[in-house]
């Protein structure tokens, strides 16, 4: 069975836009694959259709079957992590195999003050 791991430096998972996101990813594979990618992406969850957008990737072509690699990315300026009652937008970083069969990920918060924005119902003027 393939083993995939990804972690952020010092296990920090909340960032402000523009801040560096760094850490390491490691893998131990049953057989060789064409490539492995680290992806920084956001996705939504809630009542409606899910949405997902990959905003940055680091690709390792013809990787060794067992290795660990550092990574360094920058937290994008937008969109911010937020949650309301109907929709949440979340960021994550994942390591994924070319086959798409295996992945591991860490959820992140990217927003001013490195805190998820909470949308609350507004009673009106």
């Amino acid at each position: 069975m393939n083993e995939l791991k990804i972690a952020t430096r010092n296990d920090v998972t909340a960032f402000q836009p523009g801040q560096e996101i760094s850490g390491a990813a490691g893998w131990k594979l049953d057989k060789k694959v064409d490539w492995i990618e680290i992806r920084l992406f956001w996705y939504t969850d809630g009542k409606g259709t899910e949405d997902v957008q990959v905003v940055d990737t680091i690709r390792f072509d013809n990787p060794l079957q067992e290795a660990a690699e550092p990574y360094r990315l920058v937290a994008p300026d937008f969109p911010y992590s937020f949650s309301g009652t109907l929709i949440s937008l979340m960021w994550a970083i994942e390591i994924v195999l070319a086959s798409g069969s295996d992945a591991a990920r860490v959820d992140l918060v990217i927003a001013p003050k490195a805190e998820e924005i909470k949308l609350t119902p507004h009673a009106g003027p």
């Binding site: 809630g46 009542k47 009652t85 949440s88």
Partner: protein
């Protein structure tokens, strides 16, 4: 309650798969093979037709098919012309088309579709009524089924699960999708308002 914490959020609901007996998928695929891979999954709104169709995909791929999925619904009643022309030009015995929402097609459009894709090795539809292709499966729901799904999503007391399942199944005329959406709204409200009984 934050949307991502709602037990009825889309990501959690989509993880629920069609309920079949242990050897149900294999016998369904065998039956589909007997029907020369041309068949329909029939049932009313929110009865699991789309889920069952999606769950057939790995079995079809294991039988060597390239699977092509297309969804029609109330906001998209016609087949995407680009999808149609691209696929029609190269479709063959190794292709299986999954057409979700075939009831949206008029008789004329259905005839055209069948003719255009007559070389396809497989064609599976979901539709509200029988007739367009031989029926592979008829999807039905029950309060018991909704209760089974609720047990996968929440850890409420059994009595409450039974009661909610009865109430919401009846209120939404057996439409499980609508029932789960209504439960989403109810959970969202309960996170911001004083708690009341879920079946109120």
């Amino acid at each position: 309650m934050r949307a991502r914490d709602n037990p009825f959020s889309t990501s959690r609901v989509l993880k629920l798969r069609y309920r079949l007996p242990p050897d149900g998928m294999e016998s369904l695929l065998s039956r589909l093979e007997q029907l020369r891979f041309h068949a329909a999954i029939v049932g009313p709104h929110g009865s699991g037709k789309t889920t069952l169709m999606q769950d057939l995909t790995p079995g079809l791929r294991a039988r060597g098919f390239s699977v092509h999925y297309h969804h029609l619904g109330e906001t998209r009643r016609r087949i995407d012309p680009e999808w149609r022309s691209d696929l029609a030009a190269r479709v063959g015995p190794g292709d299986c088309l999954l057409l979700d929402g075939a009831e949206q097609l008029s008789s004329w459009d259905w005839w055209r579709f069948r003719r255009q894709f007559r070389r396809a090795g497989g064609m599976v539809l979901t539709t509200h009524g029988p007739g367009r292709l031989p029926t592979l499966a008829t999807c039905k729901t029950s309060p018991g089924l909704l209760a089974e799904l609720l047990r996968c999503l929440v850890s409420w007391p059994e009595e409450e699960i039974q009661s909610v399942a009865e109430t919401f199944h009846a209120r939404h005329q057996g439409n499980i999708r609508d029932a789960l959406r209504a439960l989403y709204d109810q959970e969202a409200r309960m996170g911001t308002e004083p708690c009341g009984p879920r079946t109120a």
